[in-house]
Subunit: 441 residues, 2 copies
């Protein structure tokens, strides 16, 4: 049985390592990544722009995400809203998203529709048509989106206030969707300025994944994206960095709408960097160890089962960011227990962990889980495309993506403890309590 399992893992790892990735660069500076996967006659077509909300001009928060919406307003060739209808009529689906670091547009269609997707995407890369009416209507849409996702959710509001406190100098303190008062003032000209400055082939990555042949994708990309002129306004993404953080910041957000109080804490944390991912890998394993699995993690066992102080306890860390990320915990107390006691219980578990170190058996189990998750993740072609696109958008390379699984396995328990001792520094932390108004009084 052990042999058989070992054999299965080796096979899967082999399949995983066989991500067939080809990369090219067009003369106008556009990066092209092709991921071959012939299991189904579909293709995922994505264009990623190396521009996110953290690149917005001060005072114009939300413009990156607003522009993402406006990119569906059409061009000379395509009427407003028609792009999604065309994709849909071909049996495909499309979407877009904006993050702190990048903005991406994608479609999933039958493989023989790729040419049409490139036609549409290359067209809106430079030929966006925007009327004042479109802008007015769509601004209302993003304001309503903020209302639904953020303003009506005390937890989301606490997250915003905490991010603003976490980043003293870096723009990650500003929410992707934007501050409401700044969103309300975003104009057609703001959108056009942001579009003209940042949407260009030399600021973009084309990712095509699925039932395709790299040489054919390249030829098609040259035909559609090749004629788009590069911009001379693309500058290195050098953002303000943090000064020394000398004091934990603590926030209590009390709101009548809170149904479930909790304690949440974030710490400033290293991110994945090109050729330098070991600390991030150690943090990833640390998050898994402490609070990955909802029933077997260190926090879950200690807080949910041993002491029965929490109904939920988790750790989170991503590391997929251009600049310093956060590492965090959230603990939801059992009914009736104060947030003070809850936080004290969390800190007791962390102190114990820092003293006792990593349990070797747990560490092996976590590594096996992480390996399995990495392997299973590769089965999803859209997920793979997204992984490469996101990585390249934040400056990582194809090699970095392909090395990640191995680095996760290579990281030692000592590196995890070193990362834990470095990151769990309360001076660089923000602790938030989400509570009901009665409890706060």
């Amino acid at each position: 049985m052990r042999l058989a399992l070992g054999f299965a893992v080796a096979l899967m790892a082999g399949a995983a390592a066989a991500d067939t990735v080809s990369t090219f660069k067009l003369d106008n500076g556009m990066d092209v990544v092709v991921i071959e996967d012939h299991r189904a006659p579909v293709v995922v077509h994505m264009v990623w722009y190396r521009i996110g909300s953290a690149d917005e001009p001060a005072g114009h928060s939300g413009i990156a995400h607003f522009l993402e919406h406006l990119m569906f307003q059409g061009t000379e060739e395509v009427a407003p809203g028609d792009l999604s209808k065309i994709v849909s009529a071909q049996g495909g689906s499309d979407n877009a998203f904006t993050t702190l670091d990048y903005t991406a547009y994608f479609q999933r269609v039958a493989a023989d529709r790729l040419d049409l997707m490139m036609t549409l995407e290359a067209d809106r890369m430079r030929n966006l048509n925007l009327t004042e009416d479109d802008v007015t209507t769509e601004r209302q849409v993003i304001l309503e989106e903020r209302g639904e996702r953020t303003d009506s959710d005390p937890g989301a509001l606490l997250g915003e206030q905490m991010a603003a406190a976490q980043y003293m100098n870096h723009p990650y303190g500003t929410p992707v969707i934007g501050w409401r008062h700044e969103m309300a003032a975003l104009s057609r000209q703001d959108a056009l300025d942001f579009y003209q400055a940042n949407y260009a082939p030399n600021n973009a990555i084309l990712v095509v994944a699925g039932d395709v042949v790299p040489a054919e994708v390249l030829a098609m990309a040259k035909a559609h994206y090749g004629p788009v002129p590069p911009s001379d306004r693309i500058t290195p993404r050098v953002r303000p960095t943090e000064p020394p953080q000398l004091s934990e910041r603590r926030l209590v957000l009390a709101d009548a709408r809170v149904a479930q109080p909790y304690v949440i804490r974030t710490y400033l944390a290293a991110e994945r960097n090109p050729g330098d991912q070991r600390e991030a890998a150690a943090l990833k394993l640390l998050a898994e160890l402490l609070g990955g699995n909802p029933t077997t993690s260190v926090l879950a066992r200690a807080l949910q089962f041993d002491t029965q102080k929490a109904v939920y306890a988790a750790a989170f860390y991503d590391g997929m960011s251009l600049d310093a990320d956060t590492f965090g915990f959230v603990v939801v107390p059992v009914p009736g227990q104060s947030l003070g006691d809850t936080e004290a219980a969390l800190d007791a578990v962390l102190d114990k962990f820092l003293t006792e170190g990593v349990n070797a058996e747990e560490f092996a189990r976590i590594k096996a889980q992480v390996r399995a998750a990495e392997i299973y993740g590769r089965d999803n072609v859209q997920g793979r495309a997204r992984t490469y696109g996101a990585a390249l958008s934040i400056g990582l390379t194809v090699q970095d993506v392909q090395d990640w699984a191995t680095i996760l396995q290579d990281v030692t328990a000592e590196e995890v403890m070193a990362a834990a001792n470095k990151v769990l520094n309360r001076k660089q932390a923000v602790t938030g309590w989400l509570t009901t108004e009665e409890a706060a009084e």
Copy 2:
């Protein structure tokens, strides 16, 4: 006696109202303010630029103040360091300062040296010479200045961390001197860019105060500053504003160097605005009432004398800023008392004040003190020049400056309580504890 006092105050108020201020604007956009005061044959010559640290490009904090230093590096006509020597050789003194909102240069000399001062100041408005060596040397000077004023002073460090937490979006969260890591990277080109963009007559206010005749000052200003071309790069000073602040931020800074622990709290507060100074005046009176006089204020009486919980308690508010200012308290506990008890004592006094309102007798006394301070302040010609220069630099008018004393007297107790109820909102507050490391553990 009552009559006599009334008469004296009326006389002084009459003298005060007689600030003889003339204003002009040169063809190139430079504002000129002349304050006549013939009691001594001296003149104060100031040039104020409407540019401060809150106008710096992101990631280049400290450049406004660094440029202020570099402005003494000379021109084609004046060798490095010579400007101060020339002023000194004429029996005068000179200085400069940078704040969040403006940068000012001034000299105090015998009245017949005004022409020379204008020659020198107009010269360095556009002809600054900067070598790489000058920049390297002076950068070391500002880093040492930061070391002395901030890094070696835990209270100053706490102030920086608090300001960063107070302002979630507005640049007042960045220190005037700059974050050390950004100061260290400031270059000659950064300085020249900032200088060329912002130092121009249409971004400057000339203030001349003392034993001068306005028409002669104007003629002299036309001769010296008139030929300096305006800049087409001066834009309206529209800075990012704050989103809703939903949660008090709390910080504890523990440092072995702390000799005297204290509690400090700031609240976001309205500033003085052109034609709209009543709320700021109410806040000014509130600060005086609560914590102006070190022995008779509400806080001093309650905390230092009645309950003997503090050795010092004060309130502070200025309002002389372009954008939202802060209103604050600091309380230094008696030895051995915890900062938690100290803060609770402060809040108890504030709660009592908000419940009981303004004591009419105290209010009358505070108004008399404020009136006296305003009147005595006018006796200092350099102080008057500074008041007008600062006011005009943040968009107030000569009329606003002249109205201020009257508005302070007009504000009612009801307005003070309304301002108190608005400003003392813990959701918009930052509370800091400065403590020793032992106490924190």
